[in-house]
Symmetry: C2
Subunit: 234 residues, 2 copies
DNA sequence: GCCGACATAATTGTATACAAAGTTGTGCTA
DNA sequence: TAGCACAACTTTGTATACAATTATGTCGGC
């Protein structure tokens, strides 16, 4: 594919294992790299202008977060969560996020409220601009931000992972319907936070997650591939 | 240090990244590798009879589980959770494990009950034999087994990680007192499971975790090192 | 005698070479 | 022509060589 210039990322930046992980995770979260996409080591190494060593470390990290599936002697692929895994992810979220929202409501400061408000605003703007991937990323960041405000970095790390995996789940199982319900739920949560109503925030988060699961098509039919690309690469 | 034979692991076994991770994780969990221990790459590579490539992958995996801390250009060390991190780990456990015990109670079969009973028996035997490390490992496996029975592999993975980290926390902050309370709590849980009393199991797990935190000395004094070895290697 | 700078050694970070496994394409046979 | 076997190619797995960074030990100056 042409000369290296065309496929390289920003030339000046130094890519380390962590920055490559962040870059790939973002791309996955935004659905620029859909589930099942092959992530060849040489391909990535050339794209980032680094050696396979760093790429492998990044892919290993992503596989530990269940965003990438490593098949021995076959390569790395963007993960394709099963229906089972999808249910499990949202089960885990339902255990973690409502209580975390509760804690966050009690610790919320004005500055943090402002941050959340601007997040919702950006998400809205992205939706209006038709940038669905970016909107989904921002929507996820809203949830992670709440965990951060709760000041529980361990739980935050779990939630962050679950949110990323949720993005893959949405890519696979989302049934196109109302896209606005998301931001509405976030608005409601924000009001609860603004009023420091922890109990309400907890309840709203719980409902929000149930709504999310309900908006998925988790019947076992058409389970694994859902795209012809997968049919040939597995 | 002498000829390679003396420091090698079992010669016949083929060590892969995953098996090395499991081996090291077990050693950490059993306190054979106490917090702060330097894990040199060449040292490990020679011990396992593999190259540094595999060792690095293993250390990377362990760092993602927060069992090993990687300091750039300094090396890998068995993690030393801060008081803050200790509190966070048990906060996360308190969100995950009680509900998981609830689910497990509803799904418990006779075979699984037998497994849990034998686990408690082995833990008792280990304690009697003075093998505290092994007892701690078995105690942790009891909790992970419950998550497995609940049939939620995603939550199980989180709990498994938290249990391993708890082992480090116990190594650092355990205040020597009653050592038997552990097995008593597990016995009580077992009875609840045997009676399929999900509500009771949930409550018992909640109490058990509170007792565990209470048995730790999480005052901020003497926080980081706690051993002279650390004083010089950081 | 104590402190700082420089040289040396040890350890980790990265790239690359080679080996192993898998995939694909071709040609032979039935 | 369909199916199988073999060979060439591609991609990943592992080891190792080299570079960069940090730690250590020594020497000289104050």
């Amino acid at each position: 594919m042409g000369d290296p210039e065309t496929m390289n990322k920003i030339e000046t930046r130094v890519w380390t294992s962590d920055t490559v992980v962040a870059d790939l995770e973002r791309a996955i979260h935004e659905h620029r790299l859909p589930p099942g996409t092959k992530l060849g080591e040489d391909e990535l190494a050339e794209a980032y202008g680094i050696s396979r060593t760093i790429v492998r470390a990044a892919l290993l990290a992503l596989s530990h977060r269940h965003l990438v599936e490593l098949k021995r002697n076959r390569g790395a692929f963007v993960a394709q969560p099963s229906v089972r895994e999808a249910r499990e992810v949202f089960e885990a979220r339902s255990l973690l996020e409502p209580r975390t929202a509760h804690s966050a409501a009690l610790r919320m400061t004005e500055a943090e409220l402002t941050r959340l408000r601007s997040n919702i605003r950006e998400e809205h703007a992205a939706l209006d601009a038709g940038e669905n991937g970016r909107a989904l990323l921002l929507s996820g960041q809203f949830h992670v931000e709440i965990a951060r405000i709760a000041d529980q970095s361990t739980i935050e790390a779990f939630i962050s992972q679950l949110i990323s995996r949720s993005s893959l789940i949405i890519a696979l199982y989302w049934r196109r319907r109302a896209a606005l319900c998301e931001t509405q739920a976030h608005h409601a949560l924000l009001d609860a936070f603004a009023n420091r109503d922890a109990a309400l925030a907890e309840q709203l988060m719980k409902s929000h997650l149930l709504d999310l699961v309900a908006s998925l098509d988790l019947r076992n039919v058409t389970q694994p591939p859902m795209s012809l690309r997968e049919a040939l690469q597995r």
